[in-house]
Amino acid sequence: MALLEVRNLSVAFETAAGAFFAVKGVDLSADAGEVLAIVGESGSGKSVAMLAVMGLLPPAATVTADAMCFEGRDLLTLTPRQRRDLSGSAMAMIFQEPVASLNPCFTVGFQIEETLREHTDLGAAARRARAIELLTQVGIPAPEERLGSFPHQLSGGQCQRVMIAIATACNPRLLIADEPTTALDVTIQKQILELLLRLQAEHGMALVLITHDMGVVAETADRVIVQYNGRKMEDTDVLSLFERPRSAYTRALLSALPENATGSRLPTVSTFAAAAEDGAA
């Protein structure tokens, strides 16, 4: 059985104009040891679907699904307390803005140890040792000194490393990374992606990578889900996605990449809308 199994997931937000569906009947699964990329443009529902899995959506959102199971446990029927036990330990998530994701008022060490305090029964000294171990693992130099640093004293890339340290503190089986490198320079992006893939391989985690960057997909993913407007357009292995994309939307997306341009014109949005209609049909 898959580590994460979601069937017919829909997420609706109440608005003045009635319910708005950000995710419409999406099936997805992730296996242990797998890197699953979820690709889509803004408004495709890729982040909302994963926030629903993590239980991080605001109360205004209505989440419905035929099944939403993590390691065989139905996430929809868990009590809030059970949810909290799961989040940050067995399943964890990192976000696009590393600097904004960290609390500016507390040291890096405190924020890493906070997760350990919540989810393990390690003593103070053991927590500190584990925090140092984690910072070493994510490649932060002089980790003992860094424990006392505040987020503003670190660069964006280092903050993302700290976020990864926090997320992997309790050896999660599922790590969801929502555009983890979008705010970073390409050379830093490469380091962060390499770090995520190394941790993923070492721990045999399932890594769900939400991204809009087809290059990142090509270099990291095992399997790819393409979303558009809340619907799943394609679910395939990475090679097939680029070699012979089945959905018209995926083909439109790939042809809009400047590197695939034929001549000086790129395909326009009407190509997209039409392709998406095709894909939905």
Partner: protein
């Protein structure tokens, strides 16, 4: 005059001084002598990571900031922002488009007024003539007449970027500095905006300085490419030359770090992972 490049800089240096008052002040040299030359109708792409000085360069080219040293020439005419200021005619000739179109549009200004404002400041045109020109430009950048009286928040990111471009082109500039114009946009919208920029360049013979960190976009739009690192132009050659054989180690590092879609390497990676024993792949998690 027609022979002079639209933009030329010679040894542009820019220092930022911090501290002072008490104790020592520190000087940061953001630009360390930049030479560049862009002919009419061409696009120079400036590539680099955060802190490399590309935005400082943009501010100097758009006459917002004065260089600490060096010469800036627009259409062959030397400009000294610090000493003699900028003649109004020159302000008209050089315009800029920023990365975040929402941040660069006044939320309380209707789009028609956004577009007409540069004319009010830079031309003697009457109010009705300004309105006509604004409406004409609105249509040219692919927006509709009913958008004229709407506010910025009523538009999508791509539409806002169209507005920002339209505003920049209103004064019939010669030189347009585009500071990461498509970085905040989705792929499909990015494609539209790149097409629009291409059309405007062809139609109006615009000269572009295109600042970007995205190499695939740069490869698509540029005639020449300048790679910057720590305030220096480490490599500055034609697009084809630089992409065929990057020479400087930093350029190579940048190229190598950029994720690419390359079927043989995907195949290679997938095969390698499949060959790994299952135990290693699922690790100690089970």
């Amino acid at each position: 005059m027609t022979d002079a490049p639209v933009l030329e800089t010679r040894g542009i240096v820019r220092d930022y001084v911090s501290g002072g008052l008490f104790g020592g002040s520190r000087t940061l040299r953001a630009l360390k002598g930049i030479d560049l030359r862009v002919e009419r109708g061409k696009t120079l792409a400036v590539v680099g990571e955060s802190g490399c000085g590309k935005s400082t360069l943009a501010r100097i080219i758009t006459l917002i900031d004065a260089p600490t040293a060096g010469e800036l020439l627009i259409e062959g005419q030397p400009v000294d922002v610090a000493r003699t200021g900028v003649p109004a005619e020159l302000r008209r000739k050089v315009q800029i488009v920023f990365q975040n179109p929402y941040g660069s549009l006044n939320p309380r200004q209707k789009i028609g007024d956004v577009l007409a404002e540069p004319l009010k400041l830079n031309t003697p045109l009457s109010a009705s003539a300004r309105r006509d020109r604004a409406m004409e430009m609105l249509l040219k950048v692919g927006l509709r007449p009913e958008h004229f009286n709407r506010y910025p928040h009523m538009f999508s990111g791509g539409q806002r970027q169209r507005i920002a471009i339209a505003r920049a082109v209103m004064t019939s500039p010669e030189l347009l500095v585009l500071d990461e114009p498509v970085s905040a946009l989705d792929l499909s919208v990015q494609a539209q905006i790149l097409n629009l920029l291409q059309d405007l360049q062809d139609e109006l013979r615009l000269t572009y300085v295109f600042i970007s960190h995205d190499l695939s976009v740069v490869r698509h739009v540029a005639d020449d490419v300048m790679v910057m690192n720590l305030g220096e132009a480490v490599e500055y050659r034609s697009r084809d030359a630089i992409f065929a054989a990057p020479e400087h180690p930093y350029t190579r590092k940048l190229f190598a770090a950029t994720p690419r879609i390359d079927l043989p390497s995907i195949r290679d990676r997938v095969t390698r992972k499949a060959a790994m024993p299952r135990a290693t792949r699922s690790g100690r998690a089970r």
